[in-house]
Amino acid sequence: MWRRTANGKTLHFYLAGINNQNFLMRDKETGTWWQQITGKAIYGPMKGTALELISSDELTFGEWKSEISNGQVLAAVKKDAKEYDSNWEPEVAKLPVVISFTGTELKSRDVVVGLEVGGSARAYPWATLLKQSPIIDRVQGTPLLIAVGPDGKSFRAFVSRVDGKDAEFFLQNGTKDWALIDTTTASQWNFQGCAISGPSAGRCLDRISALKDYWFNWRNYHPDTTIYKH
């Protein structure tokens, strides 16, 4: 998700091409071409400009509803609604890929959660994340917490630091309510990254933008990415 302003102009984007299975968009105002996954202008008057990433989440509708009030949901465009494919994920997974990267244990269409800290990119294989959530990791010296939500589908990444100190978390066992416990203060934290009980109650972790993507696409636009290994 991008802030659609650049060089003081508000831009309107439209789909205008494809580059190795990741789409290109163009803005109506200047005709510049932008790469969707990086937000970078690759050709045209604004070449070299980068859009600013807006922090967003990939959640289930249920999780989102439980966190907000008076939310607005993008309505279906009536004439296109029949084209929305509830089965799009396995359908897309069957499409051929045009680039592949050997030398890793990941296959092109494996799903990863990718993030960038201080210019370093790391990919967390979705299958590993499901098994190990919450993952505690470190990229460029920054302690990270990557967690799959109570629904087993939503995910978020945080800076794993409480009151300036690195923190570790584990999933609370034995109760029906999903919560993370930090090992320093034994406070309970919810999926929004906020402590709901214990000494840290009221504090929230800083968020980190993370993107769910196919490995080949993440790797292609983050050539120096590392892969998380436990």
């Binding site: 998700m1 802030r3 789909l15 045209g44 907000i68 607005q72 309505a75 929305y84």
Partner: protein, 166 residues
């Protein structure tokens, strides 16, 4: 006299061939390079975008030149030559039109003005994935099933102009 007019018409034919090929190439070269399910090298991609950017004006100029040449050549052309002129002119016109059309939107229709419904009105299943963003009290969800079709939504969330992409 006869020789010089023949030489002149040969010049016109050459010019026609060059301008019609230029016009057709201005559309087909980038369309061929940025076709789906094919690898695009960085160099080929920038060539495609450079040509595509110049194609609307370039095809127009080339098509007008072609049209003038057809008018000039028509009288002296034999039947088979007239057929060649017509077929070439059709391809030229097609290229000039296509250079102005965003055919990528034939497959993925844009959302011209995004409409929203209250979360309580939405019939979306709880297990459906959405992309979520929030500015102040303005919390919005974009169902991934819809985004996987439209790919881009230009929206205003609170006072923030946002491009939701998937």
């Amino acid at each position: 006299m006869h020789q010089s007019s023949e030489r002149g018409s040969r010049g016109l034919w050459t010019l026609f061939a060059a301008s019609s090929l230029a016009c057709i190439g201005l559309f087909f070269v980038p369309a061929f390079i940025i076709r789906p399910f094919r690898y695009q090298s960085p160099r080929a991609l920038s060539l495609a975008l450079m040509v595509r950017q110049r194609a609307p004006l370039g095809t127009l100029v080339a098509a007008l030149i072609c049209l003038l040449l057809v008018l000039a050549l028509w009288r002296i052309a034999r039947t088979w030559q007239r057929i060649v002129l017509m077929v070439a002119m059709l391809l030229v016109a097609f290229s000039a039109v296509m250079a102005r059309i965003n055919y990528f939107e034939w497959m993925f229709h844009p959302v011209d003005s995004p409409q929203f419904e209250a979360e309580t009105q939405s019939k979306l299943d709880s297990a459906e994935m959405i992309m979520a963003v929030r500015f102040g009290n303005d919390a919005r969800a974009y169902p991934i099933r819809e985004m996987a079709y439209h790919h881009i939504v230009n929206d205003m969330v609170g006072t923030e102009p946002v491009a939701v992409t998937y």
